[in-house]
Symmetry: C2
């Protein structure tokens, strides 16, 4: 989604990214969502596997496996450079916002790319076996366990990054990209003062539903909606976002849900929402900016 918005308005865009999935591995500070957005906007992303960098190699990861190291999170050699850069700059006292800006500049991006906050606010999930960290659930267990509860550790003590407040107050329009409400949006809305800030900014707020029919565009959203007691479709999304948005863009195939969504006080717009080509991305971005 941010890719389409960036293609249309590269200079006027601020992208605010969830950092609840951040974690440390092998001493490195890894920000998977920031990296995915960075790589996507820079057109470095691997279009096939959906994460990591195009043409990346696994020379280090294969050697690490030979040494008996942990390899559940596969680090490409190019990808590693991002983590080394971030970790070094953080150890020198730079904030995550500063490092992110440096990386965006190095990638030649004109966009303002911001982490939701500068301190770690790790998302944790309660499974039948107890609380686990996000990457443990997502990568190591391949998000196969039912999730009973989510928490965002320390979010209520942590303010949004300085640039986030400025960006929201100055925004004419805010677009929530098709995102998992539990794992990508709620971490941001849980930050100290964020809901108040959101309520006081005058921008028109538009979300794109991450559900098409009963399936999520990607990731474990469908099973999360089910195990957390929501309808497994865009109505479930509308309910979760109802206090936050004016408009929900949902897939044209889900037009039957419109009356129930509009009962929640949300304007519903039906168009094709699956993005496979840049043309799809641009079209959806234009609708999100125009409705």
């Amino acid at each position: 989604m941010s890719h389409g918005l960036y293609r249309i308005h590269p200079r006027d865009l601020t992208v605010i990214v969830n950092t609840g999935d951040d974690f440390r591995l092998h001493g490195l500070f890894i920000s998977p969502d920031l990296d995915t957005v960075l790589y996507t906007l820079a057109e470095w992303a691997d279009p096939v596997q959906g994460w990591g960098l195009q043409g990346d190699t696994q020379i280090c990861a294969q050697q690490l496996a030979r040494l008996g190291g942990e390899t559940w999170f596969r680090l490409g050699d190019l990808d590693l450079a991002t983590h080394l850069f971030r970790t070094q700059r953080l150890s020198q006292g730079a904030t995550l916002s500063q490092v992110t800006e440096e990386l965006a500049r190095a990638a030649g991006l004109q966009v303002r790319l911001l982490p939701m906050c500068d301190e770690p606010v790790p998302t944790q999930l309660r499974l039948a076996s107890g609380w686990v960290d996000f990457q443990d659930y997502f990568v190591r267990r391949q998000h196969s366990d039912p999730v009973l509860e989510c928490r965002y550790q320390g979010a209520d003590q942590t303010p949004p990054a300085a640039g986030v407040v400025e960006a929201l107050m100055a925004a004419e329009r805010i677009v929530l990209a098709p995102s998992n409400p539990f794992l990508s949006l709620q971490p941001i809305f849980s930050l100290r003062g964020f809901e108040t800030l959101w309520g006081s900014c005058s921008a028109r707020k538009v979300a794109v539903s991450p559900m098409i029919g009963q399936a999520a565009v990607k990731g474990p959203l469908a099973s999360l909606l089910a195990s957390l007691g929501q309808p497994v479709n865009s109505l479930g999304i509308a309910r979760l976002l109802q206090n936050w948005i004016h408009v929900l863009i949902l897939d044209e195939g889900d037009a039957a849900l419109v009356p129930d969504i509009e009962k929640l006080g949300i304007q519903a717009v039906c168009i094709p929402t699956l993005m496979k080509t840049n043309q799809d991305r641009d079209r959806l971005a234009r609708v999100a900016l125009d409705v």
Copy 2:
């Protein structure tokens, strides 16, 4: 040197390694001397450049340069795996001795490979501009500045690793490989209780001089000897080691120094000391074990 000893006595050998050069970079815990010994004994070492791994690539390092990261210490992709492994295991609470043992086992080595101690004891050097860390002097400044003084931070508070004490007390013979006394031997001898331990162990103690004529086999030793006021040859080495060894093996071309070395109470043995082939290594190792 350890390679020759290992080739002859793989099962009876303990190699104790200086860790004064260890440092953190990009969040990773790097032990250059341990890695060099590991790679050499495993026959993974790059025989041309004298550090790093044979056939290693620089995919990550090149990307890091593109991102604007620090690249004064070039990390190969295979080499990185060692640092990731070590950093992860240390962060899980393993000691440096344990991690080193795990790496040696993963590399298929039968030798006992030990760091001199488990805590950081960084070597620092006083240059005209002030105190700097070892890697700053050695890699970033390419050891071109005159060294006025050396110190081993915290050595007098830090005991040798547990295995080191055992190995010395059990040893029949101790061989000091051709090493820089200031940068590789003194850090070990500065550890808390080490001199006493050394004095109380009954092994025969043999050193191989790292000087051939007025040149060091490698590294900045000649300029260090000069700037720290010692003769720039094997007599300088003998003076620095005179309280620690029974025998000094020096190059056959330096026979003229023998009378002065023997006046120090050290037996001097002249043979070719330059090791280029495995045959050279085996021959020197045999002499070191027999004298």
